[in-house]
C-alpha cells in the first residue's frame, strides 16, 4: 500500500519530490566541487609559473587571437542561456521548448569547439605546440613553452568536458521531446544544466587568464 502512494517518478527511498530534488542537486554539486579542485590544480600551476616568468607568459599570451577568444566566450555564455532556458522548460512542463533550447545549446557548444579546433590548428602551423618542433620568436622561449603547455592542458581539459557534455546533450534530445522531464521531476535535466554551467564558469576564468595578459604593452 505504502508503495502504491509513490508515483513512478518518485524513487522509493525518498519521501517527497522536494527531498528527491535536494539530493540530486547536492550530489551534482559534490561532483562539481571535485571538478573545481581538478581544474584548481592547473590554475595553481598557472599562477605559480606566471608569477615566476611574467615576461614569457605575456609574450606567449599575445600570440592568441583575442577576437576568437572573445567570440567563443560570448558563444559559451549564449549556450549557458539556452541551457538555463531548457531547464526552465522542464520546470514549466514545456517539452518542445526544452527540446529547442537543448538543440540551441548543442549548436552553440559545437560552434565553440569548431573555433577551438581552428585555434589549435593555427598553433600547430606556427610551431607553438610544446615538443621537439616548438619554436618561439619572443623572449624566454623555454618558459613560453611552459605557457603553451598550460594553455593546451587547460583548454584541452575544458574542451574534453564540452565534448562529454555534447555527447550527453545528443542523448537528451529524444527524452526531451518525449516529455521525460516534468515540473515534479526534471532532476536529470537540472543536473546536466549544472554541469554545463560549470564548464562555462571554467571558461570565464580561462579567457582573461590566457588571452588577456598585459595587452596594453
Amino acid at each position: 500500500m505504502a508503495h502504491d502512494a509513490h508515483a513512478s517518478d518518485l524513487a522509493h527511498h525518498f519521501d517527497s519530490y522536494e527531498q528527491q530534488k535536494e539530493s540530486a542537486t547536492l550530489g551534482m554539486w559534490t561532483f562539481l566541487v571535485t571538478e573545481i579542485l581538478f581544474f584548481g590544480g592547473l590554475f595553481a600551476a598557472y599562477s605559480l609559473y606566471r608569477s615566476l616568468y611574467p615576461e614569457a607568459f605575456r609574450a606567449a599570451s599575445h600570440t592568441l587571437d583575442i577576437r576568437l577568444g572573445a567570440f567563443n566566450t560570448a558563444v559559451l555564455i549564449g549556450s549557458s542561456l539556452t541551457m538555463a532556458l531548457a531547464v526552465r522548460g522542464g520546470q514549466t512542463g514545456k517539452p518542445k521548448f526544452t527540446f529547442a533550447m537543448l538543440l540551441g545549446t548543442l549548436a552553440l557548444g559545437s560552434t565553440f569547439l569548431a573555433v577551438k579546433a581552428f585555434e589549435y590548428a593555427d598553433k600547430f602551423t606556427h610551431h607553438h605546440v610544446p615538443g621537439p618542433s616548438f619554436h618561439f620568436e619572443g623572449p624566454d622561449a623555454p618558459h613560453a613553452q611552459l605557457f603553451f603547455s598550460l594553455y593546451f592542458l587547460m583548454t584541452g581539459l575544458h574542451a574534453l568536458h564540452m565534448i562529454i557534455g555534447i555527447a550527453i546533450l545528443i542523448g537528451m534530445l529524444r527524452p526531451a521531446l518525449r516529455g521525460a522531464w516534468t515540473p515534479r521531476n526534471h532532476n536529470f535535466l537540472e543536473g546536466f544544466g549544472l554541469y554545463w554551467h560549470f564548464v562555462d564558469l571554467v571558461w570565464i576564468f580561462l579567457f582573461p587568464l590566457l588571452y588577456l595578459i598585459g595587452r596594453h604593452h
Binding site: 509513490h6 517527497s16 542537486t25 562539481l32 542561456l81 560549470f198
Partner: protein, 112 residues
C-alpha cells in the same frame, strides 16, 4: 505519463519556483557586458591592478552564473556550504603554493 497517478500529499511543496524569463535575459546581458569590459580594460595600463580588475570581473560573472543560471539563489543553504568548502580547499592550495615560492629567497639559503 504520470498524470493519472495519485500525487503525494506534499506535491505542492515540490512545485519548483520558476524565475521569470527576464531574469535569464538580464543575467545573459550582464555576462556579455562583463566580457566586453574585461577585454576593454585589458588594453588600459593599470599596472598591478590589471590582474585584480580582470579577476574581479571574472568572479562577478561567475557569481551571476552560480546564483541565477545554477539556481543557487533558490537552493537551501546546504548547497552554498558545499560550494564554499570546495572554494576554501582551492584557496588553501593557491595561498600555500604561492606563499612557499614567494618566500623562498627570504632566508638567503644557497640554491634556495
Amino acid at each position: 505519463m504520470a498524470q493519472h497517478e495519485t500525487a503525494p500529499a506534499h506535491d505542492s511543496a515540490a512545485a519548483p519556483h520558476v524565475m521569470p524569463l527576464s531574469t535569464y535575459f538580464l543575467v545573459f546581458a550582464a555576462l556579455l557586458v562583463g566580457t566586453a569590459a574585461t577585454v576593454a580594460v585589458a588594453y588600459v595600463d593599470l599596472g598591478w591592478a590589471n590582474n585584480a580588475v580582470a579577476l574581479a570581473i571574472a568572479i562577478t560573472k561567475a557569481t551571476l552564473v552560480i546564483l541565477f543560471f545554477m539556481h543557487v539563489k533558490e537552493n537551501t543553504r546546504l548547497i552554498p556550504a558545499v560550494i564554499f568548502s570546495g572554494l576554501f580547499m582551492l584557496l588553501l592550495l593557491l595561498v600555500n603554493l604561492l606563499a612557499d615560492y614567494g618566500t623562498r629567497g627570504w632566508l638567503g639559503v644557497e640554491g634556495r
